[in-house]
């Protein structure tokens, strides 16, 4: 057991992830040497994960407000008005490093953490998604990670009882040493029933709720902000273990308690548990907090103050309660079999005081702990522009049918059924569109309303051009919500990048945030919550820059929505946004020609918005029978997906060069189908509105035929599409 008064050496400071100048700042702030526990508290509060010290300057530039936004970034989750006195509460957060070390528990606790963020605000979680990225399929660790992460996501979410309605799974060698596990959750609450972390009132009890504290994850938040090296395996003991059963009980107990009016403030114990939650509650409310660690429920013997303050044991909460409701609150927690202990008090001193076994182990200025965290304007260089590749300089495939089968059947194009069938997609009984489509849809209440959810980013575009790639991530998210008929409301961003101390990586982060901001402003699609995960590097190689965007859209009338499946024989197929031309950074170029080159497709945000608004109007007017956005793999893959989903073929015609038309990834485009009777007027309206729209063919038969180019039976497409994942996972 390490005593509290050991000498603070430069080595100890470094082991806490604090730079020498940061330590100088601590000395200046408190005017003396910190105790061991205080050093731990500073390291937790000032690491990248909690302080956003490298990204804050740039995050501030993002649009975070809008007519429907009730709560933007800074709380446990964002809150957006969905009418009828209801709000949607949502956020996405990464659990990358823990998942690489112990995939099942890392992913499970990632899901647990994000669900807790949502119900801490007073919302019952109604939907979950996840964005997963793994190394090359042939990398020796990949299969183990896929299997563990998927089981962990499912193991937690299924038991907790929230439907998983969407997500992404991608493979790329640049994630070999750092997988990405980004978990999203959304909940519904009454607009007048939102709970925040800001404590109010002096002398009120600070209450500890939920599971007991162990030594799990001691130093976890520090780990999440450190670059991996070859000693990774030694870091294993700090991984926390999730308990979805306790969390489900915690959810029910919290919602029950909130309904009694007893809760003044509430904060989830996430990264760096007790430290961050207590400091945030006090600092936001301009109050001091005194904690008595002897009262903290523990499940291990001889825990030190340092360990208790930095423990990341899961399924815990901190609340400030109205004293007169204490007994009522206690009864509710006992009923659900959860620990309930008064561990502190709010004060008017603005000090964060921690007492343990008759000793004051920490006494720090509470505001400065958060507000005076270092903030860096890290040097950055703009990513070099890549050449725009003309389609004419890119070879056509020898065999178009074979090329399409590769694109729908390879690691990144194949069906994700093996993954999403391990998630309960139906629990709660409100799922209207489950994974596999453009966006997941769930109904809300009984008034005929629904919400749509999607998570998107195309990392290879961001790598090639961070600004355009950032724009594209927002645009694709907005487009996917539109494609089901939803009005995009707001988004959450999960920015996964490499080491920001390298100017070229910092340049990717800056470029992507600028692109995201520009697209959010152009589309009126504010960012209301988010998370930054940096240092995703192993032995000096960073991941592909991956700013994953989770978006939420509103369907006022759930009967007016669209899906991608071809609906009826004879329906006319049209493409809005014109034929494809852009093959740089396309899936075709990468997977058929083996080249990851060129500039990504540019995003025309004005056109994006006008086309999207038009498509949404068509859906809401009931004038289209199917809608699908065109993304990776271009028109050919979009048509194949529509054919497979509807178990119907199509006959279409495209102009030369056919590889650009079929596989080009030009942005802002949708495939739509409408009945033969409706087709003429839809095309006319589109042309009148100034859109490029082309009729390309009909829903027909049981083959997908591109005249003079290829014919593949839908059965063959489906067989190819469904084979890769189960085959890969079953392989030795």
């Amino acid at each position: 057991m390490i005593p509290n008064d050991i000498a603070i050496t430069p080595e100890l400071v470094e082991a806490h992830g604090l730079k020498p100048d940061e330590y100088e700042r601590i000395l200046a702030l408190i005017g003396r040497e910190p105790t061991f526990t205080e050093l731990g508290i500073f390291s937790a509060m000032w690491n990248e994960h909690c302080s956003y010290k490298s990204s804050k300057k740039w995050l501030k530039t993002l649009p975070t407000t809008g007519p429907r936004v009730i709560q933007g970034p800074g709380e446990n989750a964002g809150v957006v008005d969905i009418g009828d006195g209801e709000v949607v509460v949502f956020k996405m957060e990464s659990h990358n490093h823990p998942s690489y070390i112990e995939p099942y528990q890392g992913a499970a606790t990632g899901v647990g953490g994000i669900l807790r963020d949502v119900f801490t605000m007073g919302a019952r979680p109604v939907a979950a998604m996840n964005a997963l990225r793994f190394g090359a399929p042939e990398h020796p660790r990949t299969k183990h990670l896929v299997s563990g992460v998927v089981a962990g996501v499912g193991g937690y979410g299924n038991s907790f009882g929230v439907p998983t309605v969407g997500g992404e799974v991608e493979f790329h060698a640049r994630y070999n040493g750092n997988c990405l596990v980004n978990a999203f959750a959304a909940g519904i609450a009454r607009a007048d029933g939102i709970f925040l972390s800001k404590a109010e009132g002096v002398g009120l009890p600070v209450v500890y709720l939920g599971a007991k504290t162990g030594r799990d994850g001691v130093g976890g938040a520090t780990m999440a902000s450190a670059e991996f090296d070859e000693t990774i395996e030694e870091k294993r003991p700090t991984v926390q273990v999730g308990d979805p059963f306790t969390e489900k009980c915690l959810l029910e107990a919290c919602l029950e308690l909130m309904a009694t009016g007893a809760v003044v403030a509430i904060q989830d114990m996430g990264a760096a548990g007790l430290t961050c939650s207590a400091v945030e509650m006090g600092a936001k409310g301009n109050l001091g907090i005194t904690l008595d660690l002897d009262a903290v429920p523990v499940r291990e013997e001889r825990m030190t103050a340092y360990e208790m303050m930095l423990s990341e044991s899961q399924e815990r909460m901190l609340m400030v309660l109205k004293p007169e409701k204490e007994d009522e609150a206690k009864a509710i927690f006992r009923k659900w079999g959860l620990d309930f202990a008064i561990v502190g008090m709010t004060t008017d001193t603005l000090r964060f005081i921690v007492n343990h076994q008759g000793e004051t182990v920490a006494d720090l200025p509470i505001k400065e702990l958060g507000d005076e965290a270092p903030e860096y304007d890290r040097p950055w260089v703009e990513s070099p522009k890549r050449e725009v590749l003309a389609a004419g300089t890119i070879a056509e495939p020898d065999d178009y049918a074979a090329a399409l089968l590769t694109l729908v059947g390879n690691a990144n194009g194949a069906s994700r059924r093996w993954v999403y069938e391990q998630y309960d997609t139906l629990v709660q009984g409100n799922t209207l569109a489950s994974p596999g489509g453009d966006a997941g849809v769930i109904r809300v209440g009984t008034g005929g309303k629904a919400l749509a959810f999607t998570v998107d980013v195309t990392p290879r575009y961001v790598e090639a051009d961070p600004f355009e790639g950032g724009k594209q991530a927002i645009a694709e998210c907005w487009r996917n919500l539109t494609a089901v008929g939803a009005e995009p409301l707001a988004a959450t961003d999960n920015l996964n990048f490499g080491n920001p101390e390298r100017p070229e990586i910092m340049g990717q982060l800056v470029g992507a945030i600028k692109g995201i901001g520009e697209a959010c402003r152009a589309l009126d699609f504010p960012i209301v919550s988010g998370n930054v995960s940096l240092y995703n590097e192993t032995s000096g190689e960073g991941i592909l820059p991956t700013p994953a965007i989770g978006g939420v859209g509103l369907l006022p009338d759930l009967s007016r929505r669209a899906a991608a499946a071809f609906a009826s024989e004879g329906d006319v197929i049209a493409v809005i946004g014109g034929h494809g031309t852009h093959l740089g950074q396309s899936a075709y170029l990468r997977d058929i020609l083996g080249r990851e080159e060129g500039a990504p497709p540019p995003v025309d945000l004005a056109a994006e918005r006008r086309r999207g608004d038009f498509v949404r109007e068509l859906i809401r007017a009931g004038r289209v029978t199917a809608v699908h956005d065109i993304s990776s793999g271009g028109l050919a893959v979009a048509l194949a997906e529509m054919a497979m989903a509807g178990a119907k073929g199509a006959r279409v015609k495209v102009p030369a060069p056919a590889h650009a038309a079929l596989f080009g990834e030009d942005q802002g485009r949708y495939v739509l189908t409408c009945s033969a009777e409706e087709a003429a007027s839809v095309l006319e309206d589109a042309l009148d509105a100034g859109f490029e729209i082309v009729e390309i063919g009909r829903v027909e038969g049981s083959d997908l035929t591109v005249e003079d180019i290829l014919t593949i039976s839908v059965a063959k497409l489906r067989e190819t599409h469904e084979t890769w994942f189960p085959h890969y996972m079953a392989g030795a």
């Binding site: 089981a151 499912g154 193991g155 299924n158 038991s159 907790f160 009882g161 308990d243 979805p244 059963f245 306790t246 489900k248 009980c249 659900w336 079999g337 999403y420 069938e421 391990q422 998630y423 309960d424 997609t425 139906l426 629990v427 709660q428 009984g429 799922t431 209207l432 109904r443 759930l558």
Partner: protein, 224 residues
């Protein structure tokens, strides 16, 4: 028909079940807590899906020893209808109200997908109003749904026309012996099934095929 739904810590489809029961029977089901020692005056008691007590020992094992189970056992002995769905089915086998056990899925992973169910028997009080041999769409969502019993027990179930539902047309998602998806006790008043008919009852869900099952239960009481 008057019904009650029992909630255990870790239950997560109790609301789905209440929704289905209310929709079909027109009456709001009573909520029963696992620590209750008596049941309200009802015709049907449902043990819903979820992960009671985390399913940490074995699925349904701890719930099967909850205080409310004595009342349920007595209710069943008096001829009351007891339905266990998913985790509820696991509880009924653990409690000894139904024979056999639900083991880890043959594929080892949790599985959530739509299957086809065949109504294999109508010789009980739950499915009497359904059509024997008919197949219908129903989702499953479980990790431990692989029904197992020794050969003698299986023979007794099959011989006694006690297999209420089977996975049809090669859709067995978990390796259950004889494609068994649901069974009844000898008296025909306790039914356990893995699939979730309660998630396929209203027009906005993927299918309304689950309605017929709940309607059949209601009819049993309308006729009486």
């Amino acid at each position: 028909m008057k019904s009650a739904v029992v909630t255990f810590p870790g239950s997560n489809r109790e609301r789905d079940m209440m929704h289905a029961l209310e929709l079909v029977s027109g009456r709001k089901p009573e909520a029963v807590w696992h620590a209750d020692t008596s049941l309200p005056d009802v015709d049907l008691v449902v043990l819903p899906g979820g992960f009671s007590y985390g399913d940490y020992l074995r699925s349904g094992a701890i719930a099967a020893r909850a205080p409310v189970m004595d009342a349920i056992r007595a209710f069943a002995a008096r001829g009351g209808l007891v339905l266990g769905v998913c985790n509820g089915f696991q509880m009924l086998t653990e409690a000894g109200l139904l024979p056999g056990a639900l083991m880890r899925n043959a594929g080892l992973t949790f599985v959530c997908r739509e299957v086809l169910l065949e109504t294999a028997s109508t010789a009980n009080r739950f499915t009497a109003g359904m059509r024997k041999g008919e197949t219908w769409r129903c989702p499953v969502a479980h990790h431990d749904g692989n029904y197992f019993a020794d050969a003698q027990t299986i023979a007794r179930l099959e011989g006694g026309d006690r297999v209420a539902f089977r996975y049809a047309s090669g859709t067995n998602p978990n390796g259950s012996v004889n494609d068994i998806a649901g069974i009844t006790n000898e008296a025909g008043n306790v039914l356990g099934m893995m699939p979730h008919p309660e998630n396929y009852v209203d027009a906005q869900q993927a299918s309304t095929d689950g309605r017929a099952f709940f309607e059949s239960i209601c009819e049993a009481f309308a006729a009486a």
